[in-house]
Amino acid sequence: QTTFNWKMTSAYGKGSPFYMDGPGSATDLAKRIREMSNGRLNIQVFGAGELIPAFEGFDAVRAGTVEMNHANSYFWTGKSAAAQYFTAVPFGLNFQGINGWLYDGGGQELWNEVYAPFGMVAMACGNTGVQMTGWFKKEIKDVADLKGLKMRIPGLAGKVYASLGVDVKVLPGGEIFPALERGVIDAAEFVGPFQDRRLGLHKAAKYYYTTGWHESATVSELLINKAAWDKLPADLKAIVQNAAAACNVIGEAWCQKHNSEAMDDLIKNQGVIARPLPDSVIKALRTETDKVLAEAAAKDPLTKKVHDSYMAFKAKYDRWSEVSEEAYHIKVRG
């Protein structure tokens, strides 16, 4: 029997909780695959910077120099605009919804279609669950408060904020705290309670707006070189797929536990004020998001195809969740 020795890079540093360390992380995925395959598929995991810089995994897997990369697909929007949808779009699906679309609603097939020209396949392999709007030094009462607000917010959400007058600042992770603390920026988005607390953001700003309208369930992506994938026998392929699906759930579960603990601590012990954004602000953000997404979809047929599939699924899922999850949370749970 052939033994496969693979390399997997990550966009996150060695030791990052959730992404690189702990249940459902890249390291955990490699361990599960090794154990299930009885050592026939050995994956050596490298944190960001060890072999390549954080955001170079796409090219490395494409070239086949490493077989796998663990990151989020929206880092690759500069290479293929459609990649955004396989991580999160603003006002998008929640954890159950995105899994419904990916596993059973045609999402997985589209994901592979988007990566086919690059000779890669991908699958979901973790999820942060709903993230947070972010940390604000001042209260946000209505849309006017966004005008001239200096905020660290990357990506598509940044563009949406910018259209409402926010001054979007690009900052590497390490500079968020000092910049927010000193008031170089007035607000910053990072991940969720557990990760944000580790960065110390609650010591720099008191208002923690909820919830993650821009990232309602952020998918971790396992990216695989297609040629390498095709060389795996069927049982190893099944092992990889099942390990990834396991990590998808286990990682999200880890986030639920740690975020609920961290949020309790932030509110009870650290004096953090957590509240949702005002309705008027959410409405304005939604309107702008629809425009931005429509604009992106209009530029490229493949993006449009993915967009349409995603939105069609979402429309159906929204109607269902309204009478199921939502009704439970609002009327039943108490």
Binding site: K14, L51, E175, R182, V184, L199, G200
Partner: protein
């Protein structure tokens, strides 16, 4: 064919040999990296090299280098800082080593504005080294003081080391910044005491300005010159620091305020010309390019070291450990120190920290304290020959009569003082831990 690890050892040996023969540092790094990499694992992994090169040239954090270099070169070219140290010497009066102390203090101020070692060393090297030598300072002492002063920037926040460690160790950058203040100032204090004591024991190494020359300048004249030459550079540092503290600029971009300030000061002094601006910009781009060129070539070496499983060499050494928290910590410290001879701090952090961290944290070691021990220790990697960034930066801008041998000789006492400071932080953890607790970071 050997085991990959054997090639890793051969690579280190080859690195030493070529370096000692006088092959340029950058060429040496890439040559041994390519040679032993190809022998050990073939060419596949080198396909990742362009990604690493792109990571270097597109690295936002390096933006601070040209900004600070520009500030330093502008001060030098505008000839405003020509007699900066002379004035400091006048102020120090008969105190031997007074100008050396001035350099350390300047390093503290610069360190508070940047986390880039090269920037401080190049600025100080350009501004002060020629004057110190002309004033009869021992070349080695002068070089040692400048290199040590420059590395202070890596412990006094903001600092790239602290930012990277916070990422690898998953700690708050704010906590690490606060914790580093104590050890950073302690290190500076130890340097200053050393220079003053050395000045008393061996006055010839660091002569004060001659009595006659000091007498020739009246107190009032000195005061005027103080305002003209000492205050402007300090004001630049204040401008940079002030723009960070005042919430105007993020740490990396803050240096641009210093660059603009340097132009304004030159204009104010009536010495501004387009020609000067162009010369300064050319010098800045040259210095930046060569620093980054060495860093790019270091990528070949780092990639090969990884590909040859150089980190396994360290794991094997780890197995010899007798056990016990303190011996584990000291082993880690010894390892980081030894690695500092060969490779640069970024690779050391990526290799050594994840290796020891879980073991030490499980034994209840305070991660913030551990991060400070690592940070103090990593200072040495900048200074330890043969591969020390501080040494190369200074050599790059030093007058021709300064040899790398002078620099090597000069940094030795300062490395010893870093070891002393490391021991102090080890035995008195509160040096690092009280400030974060006191201000609640």
């Amino acid at each position: 064919m050997f085991e990959p690890q054997t090639y890793a050892i051969l690579m280190l040996v080859g690195f030493f040999v070529l370096l000692m023969l006088g092959v340029p540092v950058a060429t040496t790094l890439a040559t041994v990296g390519f040679l032993f990499g190809y022998l050990g694992f073939g060419d596949s992994l080198f396909n990742l090299l362009p990604a690493r090169i792109y990571g270097v040239v597109a690295g936002y954090q390096w933006m601070a280098i040209p900004l600070f270099v520009f500030m330093g070169v502008m001060l030098e070219k505008s000839r405003l800082a020509d007699d900066l140290l002379d004035v400091m010497g006048h102020i120090a009066g008969g105190v031997r080593g007074g100008m050396g102390v001035g350099i350390i203090l300047f390093g503290v101020l610069m360190g508070a504005t940047t986390g880039i070692v090269g920037a401080t060393i190049i600025t100080l090297g350009l501004l002060t080294l020629p004057t110190l030598i002309r004033r009869g300072y021992d070349k080695s002492i002068a070089c040692g003081a400048i290199c040590a002063s420059g590395t202070l920037g890596q412990i006094i926040p903001p600092s790239l080391i602290l930012i990277l460690l916070s990422d690898i160790m998953q700690l708050s950058v704010g906590t690490l910044f606060a914790a580093a203040v104590g050890p950073g100032l302690l290190l500076a204090g130890v340097y200053i005491i050393f220079l003053l004591v050395l000045g008393m024991l061996k006055p010839d190494l660091m002569p004060p300005l001659p009595q006659a020359e000091r007498d020739a300048v009246s107190r009032k004249q000195l005061w005027v010159r103080f305002w003209k030459v000492v205050v402007p550079p300090i004001m630049l540092v204040v401008a940079v620091l002030g723009s960070i503290v005042g919430g105007i600029a993020a740490p990396t971009e803050a240096a641009s305020m210093g660059a603009v300030g340097a132009i304004l000061i030159t204009i104010g002094a009536g010495r501004f010309k387009w020609q000067v601006l162009k010369e300064v910009a050319l010098e800045t781009s040259k210095i930046t390019a060569i620093m980054m060129f060495i860093l790019m070539m270091a990528q070949v070496f780092a990639l090969a070291f990884r590909g040859l499983h150089g980190e396994d060499l360290i794991v094997r050494m780890f197995e010899w450990l007798p056990g016990g928290v303190n011996s584990d910590i000291w082993f880690m410290m010894a390892l980081i120190f030894v690695l500092g001879f060969f490779i640069e701090w970024i690779e050391i952090s990526y290799i050594a920290v994840p290796l020891f961290l879980p073991v030490l944290i499980n034994q209840g070691v305070d991660p913030v304290w551990l991060a400070m021990l690592i940070t103090v220790n990593l200072q040495s990697s900048f200074l330890t020959p043969p591969f020390g960034w501080a040494l190369f930066y200074l050599k790059g801008v030093a007058p021709p009569e300064v040899t790398i041998r002078d620099i090597y000789k000069g940094v030795v006492p300062f490395i010893a003082m870093q070891a002393l400071t490391l021991a102090l932080v080890f035995f008195y953890p509160q040096i690092a831990l009280w400030l974060p607790k006191a201000i609640g970071w």
